[in-house]
């Protein structure tokens, strides 16, 4: 049996230029270790598909916090449901605007539900789906529409990632995954939709140690397992430190904005 356990560099060594990569970017359950490794892999012309494209403040980035924009220099297209800047000083926002204007970056806006249904369509090997979301809004522009049983639908193509980056709490040696809390989010769907799925985990156990009833992503969907080193910049402890720093930063900015508003009134 081929061993699925390897390093991030080994797992990503065969990713080709122009690949469509999908990952969950929503608090816990964000594959930060793999995103960092992908950013250092040298692949280019990526299409990045993610639920959130949150840009961190420069101050936080300087302290090691990463966001989806870590892949920006290698990205030619972004498919995203929600984008936001944590503070006004995120330098990536200017970079995105500039590149869209000069035509080297394309952004496709979807809703969270549309993103999930399109990944799900890919997972089920469908040629596309008719979806009611977005009728009468800007999202229907240029799309095929059809009325079925009196209801209007928009045709949505599947999104089939060449590479799925997944984050889970624990894997067994076979690649069965368990998640904890809201870490789950889009990870199981991405694992099913992608042609090649790499999972980063905080712990690897022997087969039999995971409760079969508790396994959410069965081993068939996982091609490589990467154990996050305990001294990694994105170890559990480091993530918690960064999260706390980020929350405090956000609250401080909010307090400052409030104080400024009060001063003007």
């Amino acid at each position: 049996m081929r061993d699925k356990i390897c390093t991030a560099v080994e797992a990503l060594s065969e990713v080709k230029d122009g690949a469509l990569v999908a990952f969950n970017f929503w608090g816990p359950g964000t594959p930060l270790h793999l995103m960092k490794a992908l950013s250092e892999s040298g692949v280019k012309d990526l299409t990045v598909c993610t639920n959130n494209y949150t840009l961190r403040a420069n101050e936080l980035r300087e302290q090691g916090a990463i966001d989806a924009a870590i892949l920006l220099p290698q990205t030619r297209k972004i498919i995203v449901a929600f984008s936001g800047i944590q503070a006004e000083d995120a330098s990536a926002s200017g970079e995105i605007t500039r590149r869209v204007q000069e035509g080297t970056l394309e952004i496709e806006n979807v809703s969270h539900g549309i993103l999930i249904e399109r990944l799900h369509a890919a997972a089920m090997c469908l040629g596309g789906i008719y979806s009611p979301i977005g009728i009468g809004t800007g999202l229907e522009e240029g799309k095929e529409k059809r009325i079925i049983n009196g209801v209007e639908y928009i045709f949505q193509e599947p999104i089939t990632p060449d590479l799925g980056l997944v984050s889970a709490t624990k894997a067994d040696r076979l690649g069965n995954l368990v998640y904890h809390g809201t870490e789950r989010a889009a990870n199981p769907i991405i694992a099913m939709a992608a042609k090649y799925t790499v999972a980063e985990v905080f712990e690897i156990v022997e087969p039999g140690e995971l409760d079969p009833d508790a396994i959410v992503t069965p081993a068939a969907f996982v091609d490589r397992i990467v154990l996050i080193p305990s001294d990694d910049a994105y170890s559990k402890e480091k993530r918690i430190e960064q999260t706390l720093r980020s929350i405090k930063y956000r609250l401080q900015k909010m307090a400052e904005a409030e104080a400024a508003q009060g001063g003007n009134a």
């Binding site: 929503w26 608090g27 816990p28 359950g29 639920n51 494209y53 840009l55 972004i78 995203v80 449901a81 929600f82 984008s83 936001g84 800047i85 006004e88 926002s93 995105i96 605007t97 869209v100 952004i107 806006n109 979807v110 809703s111 969270h112 539900g113 549309i114 999930i116 249904e117 799900h120 009611p132 979301i133 977005g134 009728i135 009468g136 809004t137 800007g138 999202l139 709490t169 998640y179 904890h180 809390g181 809201t182 870490e183 789950r184 989010a185 889009a186 990870n187 199981p188 769907i189 959410v216 559990k236 993530r239 918690i240 999260t243 706390l244 929350i247 609250l251």
Partner: protein, 225 residues
């Protein structure tokens, strides 16, 4: 100058639309405040994959409970949640089945609502080129009942309840109820019905602040708290 309702009071009034056993998703902004006023037994959902969550850690309680906080349990706005009996976790596919299939009430913030029940809910992002649609289109389309909470007028004093939307559309003909700092308005097949008005205000004064025609319900009354 007469008092308008605070955001807390808008949230308190909107929360009264739900009864124990109901499941509900709360959008960012005023709706998040509704959680504090929900009847016991209302299950609150967050689209990243949690149903039945309870208290949210604020700045102080987060500092005091650093040892206790479960760093893997957040709502859609990245606020840390306490574990409570009866809560469940699931993936986003399950989450959006829940959202779209009429099993949840949605209380969302609003930028504009039209007399037909169209709503502009999502804003464009600061980047200007990528949107903040998030789950708003799914939540609005699939809600068992869509309640929009917002201030009655914009900061510049322009009515946010209008005949036709001028902002990017999030959903068409889906709004059931509008709760503002001046009124509770039901969207009916024949237009907007003023059901309740803020203490100290009159239905005529509410109409003056509204960009569409209101029908005054027979049983119109002051909002009670």
């Amino acid at each position: 100058m007469k008092e308008k309702l605070t955001e807390e009071l808008i949230a308190m009034r909107a929360a009264r639309e739900l009864v124990p056993g109901d499941c509900c998703n709360l959008g960012i902004g005023i709706p998040l405040n509704c959680a504090a006023y929900m009847s016991e037994g209302v299950l609150v959902q967050s689209e990243n994959g949690v149903l039945g969550y309870g208290p949210v850690y604020d700045r102080e309680s987060l500092d005091e409970n650093v040892e206790r906080v479960d760093w893997n349990v957040v709502d859609a706005g990245m606020r840390y949640l306490e574990h409570v009996p009866g809560m469940s976790f699931f993936d986003m596919l399950t989450s959006f089945v829940m959202i779209r299939s009429g099993r949840l009430f949605s209380i969302l913030g609003g930028l504009q609502v039209s007399e037909k029940g169209d709503a502009a809910i999502h804003s464009m992002s600061e980047v200007d080129i990528a949107s903040k649609i998030g789950g708003s289109m799914d939540l609005a389309w699939g809600a068992k009942r869509l309640i929009v909470t917002m201030t009655h007028c914009s900061k510049d004093g322009d009515p946010k309840i209008v005949r036709e939307l001028t902002m990017p559309v999030t959903t068409r003909k889906r709004v059931d109820l509008i709760v503002t700092d001046l009124a509770v308005i039901e969207v009916t097949g024949s237009g907007l019905a003023l059901k309740e008005f803020a203490p100290g205000w009159t239905p005529e004064e509410v109409q003056q602040q509204t960009g569409a025609t209101l029908t005054i319900a027979n049983d119109v009354r002051e909002i009670e708290f």
